[in-house]
């Protein structure tokens, strides 16, 4: 994590909490940015904190929103609590609305949730087992346009044990059960409502530290303190989530005290500006969302493993990392595992063969009978090693990455030609149609659904014709894993299969930034965003945020 208090250059902070055995779906790594959590102090209460986010929330419903959901998350994390949350001090899931960790049985696979008995909704009504069952019923109701029912569809039976206890029985084990029910829904408020639209602009009753007071669509959402919050009334009176699409504007607003906190995607030039702001702290969050180069197996000679391996060996990922990522995070290295961060237990280097080795690439091609033509480009089995490289128009980071990749590949006698494509065409037409040789796209293998989407034989977003039944089996094992150890082992095995097949080249992990005025204290920023869900970002315990006097 990089922490830059008071306008200095980035200084590496290494205060990473020791991590327990975790998978990326199960945990996050956090650190207190500047020792701001001083429990001995009596923080002042009152005031309004303003958060600038790039996108306005298209809806306030975290279960139905699709596409640009970042705006929704930026609000939802203030107003909804889930059953479990990642605790920064231990980096483990801990109960939030639950009285204790859920009880899990393996055969049959059941989960028993025991809710706190004293939690209230923002209108003062008690949070009960009926609300949990209602949430489940809502999420599996085909009338409602739920974006993702993964996990919920496996539930075969929901049993109300008592007023605050529910047992769910699953058709098969579901290893990512901790991420279920990240938002609880109030039955007494929603029972007769149209769930597709009820939370479009307002959430009258919620369980989180803040409640929606006013929503000026496209402009801002004003949140006021939830007087009935189960962890105590928030110190702040209000939080305003404002949409500021232009990052440079948000920087000036932070500099001029018009906002207190912003969370843009990190970029070197932006970081320079943020770190130059006095009286502000800027932190970079690494993630497990990668930039990758995907090979189309349907396009010879990319169907040949040695060709893909040669390309992987020709690419200088270290140079790309140095240019694009190190300015953000001096500790970053080229991706060694797409499923675990280096600080996580169970991490292993699955991509050791992907280090830059132009001579090795040449030797590999020559050993497979490839010869060079007049332009010094290799020809293998009658196919010239000249490939189209589809990348996104207007994306500076991807443009730079292409230039570096192209230059290093050329040293090994491989010619890459940029096919710069407008995003809608790139992702809407060329990717689904398999109309590419090499495709630059971001993705995440951190959880089973993300991994299998791109790489399973039947993956919904697999358009490379890559198929490895062993990889699929490992992902199936991961999905059904009953223990964390089993999950990590299965995900690692799947990642090793992927690496061994040279199905794609993972380049680097994307980084995000959180910059906040030093007036706003109590903000805890994770050093690594391992689970890009609702429970693992800097919105942790926002009821403890306060404005310094």
């Amino acid at each position: 994590m990089i922490s830059v208090p008071r306008g200095g250059r980035p200084a590496v902070r290494t205060a990473m909490a020791p991590l327990a055995v975790v998978s990326l779906a199960f945990t996050g790594a956090f650190a207190d940015p500047a020792g701001l959590h001083d429990s001995s102090a009596d923080p002042p209460s009152g005031g309004t904190a303003i958060l600038a986010h790039e996108q306005p929330p298209p809806s306030l419903n975290p279960y139905t929103v699709q596409g640009a959901s970042g705006g929704t998350r930026s609000v939802a994390q203030f107003i909804f609590d889930g059953l479990l949350v990642v605790d920064p001090s231990t980096a483990e899931w801990v109960p939030e609305l639950l009285a204790e960790l859920p009880e899990v049985t393996e055969d049959p696979f059941t989960i028993t949730y025991r809710l706190k008995t004293d939690s209230l909704w923002s209108d003062g009504e008690p949070i009960t087992a009926d609300d949990l069952i209602f949430t489940y019923d809502t999420l599996v109701n085909p009338d409602w346009e739920i974006a993702n029912r993964a996990g919920y569809e496996l539930i075969t039976n929901a049993t109300r044990v008592d007023d605050h206890t529910v047992t769910f029985e699953f058709a098969s084990p579901y290893s990512e059960y901790r991420a279920l029910f990240h938002v609880l829904l109030p039955e007494h408020d929603l029972a007769d409502e149209d769930f597709n639209t009820v939370y479009d602009t307002n959430v009258p009753v919620s369980s989180g530290p803040f409640v929606v007071a006013e929503h000026s669509e496209g402009e801002q959402v004003r949140l006021s303190a939830n007087e009935h919050y189960h962890l105590g009334r928030p110190l702040l009176d209000e939080v305003i989530v404002r949409s500021v699409p232009e990052r440079l504007t948000a920087v000036q607003q932070l500099r001029g005290g018009e906002i207190h906190i912003m969370d843009p995607q990190a970029a070197p030039d932006l970081m320079d500006q943020l770190t130059a702001i006095p009286d502000a702290t800027t932190q970079v969050i690494s993630s497990l969302v990668y930039e990758g180069l995907f090979f189309n197996f349907a396009r010879p000679p990319l169907d040949q493993s040695y060709v893909r391996e040669a390309i992987a060996m020709s690419i200088d990922r270290e140079a790309v990392n140095q240019v694009l990522v190190v300015p953000l995070n001096p500790e970053s290295t080229p991706i060694a595992s797409t499923v675990l961060a280096p600080e996580q237990q169970g991490f292993q280097d699955n991509y050791g063969a992907y280090h830059a080795d132009p001579e090795g690439a040449i030797a590999l091609l020559e050993s497979n009978g490839c010869t060079r033509d007049d332009d010094d480009v290799f020809v293998c089995e009658g196919e010239r090693l000249e490939f189209g490289y589809v990348t996104t128009a207007g994306n500076e980071r991807r443009r730079l990455m292409f230039e570096l990749v192209q230059a290093s590949a050329r040293e090994s006698g491989i010619q890459l030609n940029a096919e710069v494509t407008e995003g809608a065409v790139q992702f809407g037409e060329r990717w689904p149609a398999g109309d590419f040789d090499i495709f630059n796209v971001g993705g995440g293998n951190a959880n089973v659904s993300g991994f299998s989407g791109y790489f399973s034989c039947e993956g919904g977003t697999n358009h490379t014709e890559y198929c490895n039944s062993e990889l699929d089996a490992h992902l199936e094992e991961a999905s059904n894993a009953a223990s964390l150890d089993d999950f990590v082992a299965a995900m690692n095995a799947a990642d090793q299969e992927l690496a061994g097949d040279f199905a794609f080249v993972p380049m680097f992990f994307i980084h995000y930034a959180v910059a906040h005025s030093n007036d706003l204290q109590g903000v805890v920023v994770p050093s690594t965003l391992l689970n890009p869900g609702y429970n693992a970002t800097f919105h942790y315990r926002t009821h403890e945020w306060f404005l310094a006097e």
Binding site: T48, I50, P56, P58, S59, Q66, G67, A68, E145, I146, A147, N148, R149, A150, N196, D200, S216, E217, G218, E219, Q220, R222, E238, I240, R242, S243, V244, P245, E246, L248, T249, A250, Q252, Q253, R255, G256, G257, E258, E422, G423, A424, V425, Q426, F427, G428, E429, W431, P432, V441, S449, G450, S452, G453, Y454, G459, G460, T461
Partner: protein
Amino acid sequence: MVASVVVFFGVSSIGDPLGQLRLEPSISAEALQRYVDRKHLDRPLLVQYGLWVKEAVTNQFGTDLLRDREIWPDLVKAMGRTSQLVLPAEAIAVLFAAIVGVTSARFRYSVFDHGFTLLSFLAYSLPTFWLALVLQVAVTSFYNSSGIRLFYTAGLSSPNPGTGLSFFIDRLQHLALPIFVLSVTSVAVYSRYMRSSMLDQLGSEYVRLARSKGVRERRVLTAHAFRNALLPFVTVIGAHLGAVLGGTIIVETIFDIPGMGTYFYNALIARDVYPLMAWLMVTSTLIVVFNLVTDLVYAVIDPRIRYE
């Protein structure tokens, strides 16, 4: 109508509006199919266009693609916010340009004339986004050094703007920079036309006659030359409205004003043809209406012009 065809087919042919969604493993096939069904995306473009026309005519442009939200209420809100920006900006630009144009013409080749000619060309060639960002930096630096909040850098209002005069001042502090940026280019354009038009009038025979009859110079300028010079000036203002509305896309995005420009920008980024079409229809109508108003203003300015 022609514009609607061009835009609908143009935007629709750029790419799949669900392209980004299709990349997200968390979006189920069932959810994607709902979008396809809702807007008949599996039908030929011509059919889709026909269905859009029906929605536009019978249902106030219908709903957008991704959120299924009604377009018209959002558009009305956006228009209200943009009018707070465009109307003052144009009023200031017209007033200032008239003064500068008349004065430059009256004192042709003077230091004033040369100075404003230089400034006009400078203002016309300044990239709007650059000017906006520089102003934001300057205003923030002033605040940080003096502690005095003259203007805000973005948004429409403060968290607690108050009511009455307090609200008005707060809104003014927020809109001052975008209004200034939007009016700069207009002043540059209008003032050049005003100067040129005034020079034509000041060189005409009726002005020479008035002067030879001993009419006071101020009266020659205001009652005779200026009034006649207004005709081409008004024409330019009417014709420039499209450019002003285009300028709001940049200005509103940078200054975080959720008006028509931001509405257009967001729809374009989302590749959502339905709000884009509604935006186009509304702005086209506004330009037509404004041109009609311009024609009516002719009759007011010049009594010789009458419409039967």
